[in-house]
């Protein structure tokens, strides 16, 4: 996201044939719709034209602003009389969007702060003034073309952020203490040879103790807490030996200091905590994404809808609409409930629900589903199912069960940790008992040795081994435009043998393109494109894209769900579906079509086809060469799917699948022991993405789908799929190497510790060097990417 923002594009004047705001094909210098022209005027009016130079992605198509929602309900009053509102902002593309929204809001009188987080997409506004101003501010954002969703304020203070902060604080304290104690310890170690005075040494040890004890008490809390919880439930985890080791080291060292002994382990204890905290922080940071996305899902389903009541139109969250109530859906708006159309003729784009690329015409009596977008004319819909009962709700439930199945995944590090902790405990105990019974040590030196064993075996390198690799792998993928969201994604994606693709929007671009017409069509094209320029229907947009110089014709009438008509020189011109153009039967060849009819001439048929991503064939070939099984699962018609499958040489494909059928197919394959990567973009893929071992979604996909997917890739190229798999496999190899190294290190270090030969100096060197080796090994992953680059 940010990497792209850096490559700020040079000033880009409105291209001929592109909307100056969203870049969609339109007549030269004209706006594609009123929404975009409003947004453009607003941006210019605020003096924020710079946005058009900063942005790296086209702006979202500015939808006509939603009808007034009562946002003041969501406002929190602040103690100093100001008001605060948090909303989720949808459709953000890059850092320029963030800049635009913040600056547009800060320019408003009364606004004291407007902060938008690119990671959480949460916008927090604070202003002096009444709560009623909220709607005005939100409307500015909506008019810029971004969707705003209400946030449940109670979820804002989720433990994620708090936990991250606590770890950072603990890390700071531990780092400070570790550096200072190490300073003192190095003096003591060099003093052993050079005859440092006993009193100086004791002073240094004393100061170390003064720093270490409060620092460990503070920085060790996350570990102590987790260890205590585990023990209380009769379990043991990695934190138990850590806590015991650190505590024992401090207690033993204190005893040593009291009797003015030569060795103290304060430095080892605090350095250990510091390294462990670093690993833990990296890990939590990676997991943070997953937690945040769950909140977004919640907000999406709670979108306000316009309810028609006896008292007029009322905005209400979709979850509070009762079945049987009537909903008003404006053109360009997303439908919030499942229901029957009562009034209005329009077409709805359900591509994200069904995978079908063409809008469906709807008329009174037709069924529409929550999540589809109403394209042409206002509709009145009678709700038949709301909230959890809708198709979206059903998918959400499917998703939840998918998430549960995924949470059962046991990470490699956890598998190791499970048997590591008991082994360490037993070893320490045995060496204590051994020295007491067999050796002639007093109990004090036996405890000292046991503490040394615990310290040297502390899973320092082990705790860093996996997070370090993960962070390097994520940043490497980020550079290739792949955003990894789930912490376990790379591990799950490391042994994939089956790759399943959705068709529309995944293998294909997801937009219809005009099939080059014959000579007759070429002649007609300018006239037809001029008509089409007046419509937002995807097929009309494709016509305009094929003939960008067309000047929009005047007096074009739109007949929702049917087509366009215009008074031409020789009578009425009609552009639309077969029936509208007076053609009795339409041919079926897997292509979408628009008919153009003129008085006295044969109707002409324009054909459209969704084109494949430019590198789809190469990527499919590469994946096949790697010996992976490839499958296409699509909700689209069989002929459309067959065509794509043939073009790519994939013989295993299913068409016309429901979201549930997709998920079932994946579950069945999983039962056969297959490891599956699912690539999809639609809402109908969401559950399948959740059930697959790992999942990828293009950044053009729907919010929910992107939330479910383990990783999101940007750009037109499908090459992200092999890249993701390659990095996942490589990082898993490095993780194994790192864990293996940690174990080998222990095999050498533990006997030394048991033999009582580990002085604080050796402990410090061994621990730091093993941690460094592990981190250095992880960095290799990033380096190899740089070398591979031309």
């Amino acid at each position: 996201m940010t990497a792209q923002a850096l490559q700020a594009l040079p000033a880009r004047p409105a291209l001929a044939g592109a909307c100056p705001h969203c870049g969609a094909p339109s007549a030269a210098g004209e706006f594609c719709c009123t929404g975009c022209s409003t947004a453009y005027a607003l941006i210019r009016g605020l003096g924020l034209e710079q946005y058009y130079q900063l942005r790296s992605n086209a702006a979202p198509v500015a939808a006509d602003a939603d009808a007034d929602v009562d946002w003041s309900e969501f406002v929190t009053p602040l103690p100093d009389g100001r008001s605060r509102l948090s909303v989720l902002v949808g459709d953000m593309q890059c850092a320029a969007c963030l800049w635009l929204i913040e600056h547009a809001l800060r320019a408003q009188p009364g606004m004291t702060s407007a902060q938008l987080s690119s990671a959480t997409r949460r916008l927090t506004m604070e202003w002096t003034g009444p709560a009623a101003d909220a709607s005005r501010f939100v409307q500015i954002v909506t008019r810029l073309g971004y969707r705003c969703l209400p946030v449940d304020e109670s979820t804002v203070q989720a433990d994620g952020v708090a936990g991250e902060r606590e770890l950072l604080r603990a890390m700071a304290v531990a780092g400070f203490a570790a550096a200072n104690i190490m300073l003192l310890s190095v003096s003591v170690w060099s003093g052993h040879g050079d005859g440092m005075g006993v009193y100086t040494r004791d002073l240094f040890h004393g100061i170390s103790a003064l720093i270490a004890i409060p620092a460990i008490a503070y920085a060790g809390r996350p570990f102590f807490r987790s260890a205590f919880n585990a023990l209380r439930h009769g379990r043991t985890n990695m934190d138990v030996p850590i806590s015991i080791g650190v505590t024992l080291a401090v207690v033993v060292s204190m005893a040593e200091v009291m009797r003015s002994g030569p060795h103290a382990y304060f430095d080892a204890a605090i350095t250990l905590l510091f390294f462990l905290l670093v690993g833990r922080f990296l890990d939590l940071r990676a997991r943070g994404f997953a937690r945040r996305t769950a909140q977004q899902l919640l907000a999406w389903t709670n979108r306000p809808v316009a309810v028609l009541t006896a008292a007029g139109v009322i905005q209400r969250p979709a979850s509070r609409v009762a079945a049987g109530e009537r909903i008003l859906v404006a053109a360009g708006e997303r439908i919030g409930v499942d229901g029957l159309v009562q009034e209005g003729v329009s077409s709805v784009d359900a591509s994200l629900l069904t995978g079908e690329i063409l809008p469906q015409s709807v008329a009174p009596g037709a069924m529409v589903y929550a999540g589809a977008t109403n394209l042409e004319a206002p509709l009145t819909v009678q709700a038949t199912a709301v909230g959890a009962g809708t198709l979206v709700g059903e998918m959400t439930r499917l998703l939840e069960s998918a998430e549960q199945s995924r949470s059962r995944f046991v990470r490699l590090a956890e598998q190791v940790a499970r048997w590591y902790a008991p082994v360490v405990h037993v070893t320490a105990l045995l060496s204590f008992a051994g020295w007491m019974l067999l050796g002639d040590a007093d109990w004090r030196s036996a405890v000292l040795i046991a503490a040394a064993v615990l310290i040297i075996t502390c899973p320092c390198a082990l705790a860093l081994a996996v997070p370090a690799v993960q962070v390097v792998a994520s940043s490497r993928l980020m550079r290739s435009g792949i955003l990894v969201k789930s912490a376990t994604a790379l591990e799950r994606a490391s042994a994939i043998d089956t790759v399943i693709f959705d068709k529309t929007g995944t293998l294909t671009i997801g937009q219809p393109r005009l099939v080059p017409p014959d000579a007759t069509g070429q002649v007609l094209l300018p006239v037809v494109a001029a008509m089409a320029a007046r419509s937002r229907h995807p097929l009309c947009r494709a016509l305009v894209a094929a003939c960008p110089d067309a000047v929009p014709a005047d007096h074009v009438q739109e007949h929702p769900g049917q087509g366009l008509s215009m008074a031409g020189a020789d009578g009425e011109y009609r552009l639309g579906n077969a029936g509208f153009a007076g053609v009795p039967v339409s041919a079926r060849d897997g292509c979408s079509e628009l008919w153009f009819a003129r008085p006295g001439q044969l109707p002409y048929r324009f054909r459209f086809r969704d084109s494949l991503r430019s590198d789809a064939a190469a990527v499919i070939g590469q994946l096949r060469d790697q010996g992976r099984r490839l499958v296409i699962l699509s909700g689209d018609h069989a002929d459309a799917v067959a065509e794509v499958a043939t073009a790519l040489g994939i013989d295993d494909w299913r068409a016309g699948l429901t979201p549930k059928a997709k998920a079932d197919f994946i579950l069945a394959l999983k039962d056969q022991g297959r490891r599956i990567l699912m690539v999809g973009d639609g809402l109908n893929d969401a559950a399948a993405l959740g059930f697959a071992d790992a999942s990828l979604s293009p950044a053009t996909g729907m919010d929910i789908t992107q939330n479910v997917a383990d990783a999101v890739f940007q750009g037109e190229k499908l090459g992200a799929v092999p890249e993701f798999l390659g990095v996942a496999e490589q990082s898993q190899r490095l993780c194994r190497q790192n864990i293996g190294f940690s174990l080998v290190y222990n095999m050498f270090a533990v006997p030394l510790a048991i033999a009582g030969m580990v002085t604080p100096l050796i402990a410090a060197v061994a621990m730091s060097s093993s941690s460094l080796v592990v981190v250095a090994n992880a960095v290799r992953l990033g380096l190899s990417a740089r070398k591979a680059r031309p």
């Binding site: 996201m1 940010t2 923002a5 850096l6 700020a8 605020l46 003096g47 924020l48 710079q50 900063l54 850092a95 963030l98 800049w99 600056h103 800060r106 320019a107 009188p109 938008l116 987080s117 690119s118 990671a119 959480t120 952020v161 902060r165 950072l168 604080r169 700071a172 304290v173 400070f176 550096a179 200072n180 300073l183 003192l184 100086t200 100061i207 720093i211």
Partner: protein, 56 residues
């Protein structure tokens, strides 16, 4: 060696100042959104100009 009595407290004090500053930064939300701040610094800030435009 008596200089240590000065140097050690001095070192600790400097370190403590650093930790305090870091803890303050965390509490102040400076680390909340690492991605955006990196990009935000590159934008020429239009705020000053906007304020001028609003006031006359």
């Amino acid at each position: 060696m008596t200089i240590l009595l000065l140097l050690i407290p001095a070192a600790l004090l400097l370190g403590l100042i650093g930790v305090w500053a870091f803890l303050w930064a965390i509490g102040n939300g400076q680390f909340n959104d690492l991605d955006a701040e990196g990009a935000r610094v590159l934008f020429d800030d239009a705020d000053a100009r906007l304020r001028e435009r609003r006031q006359p």
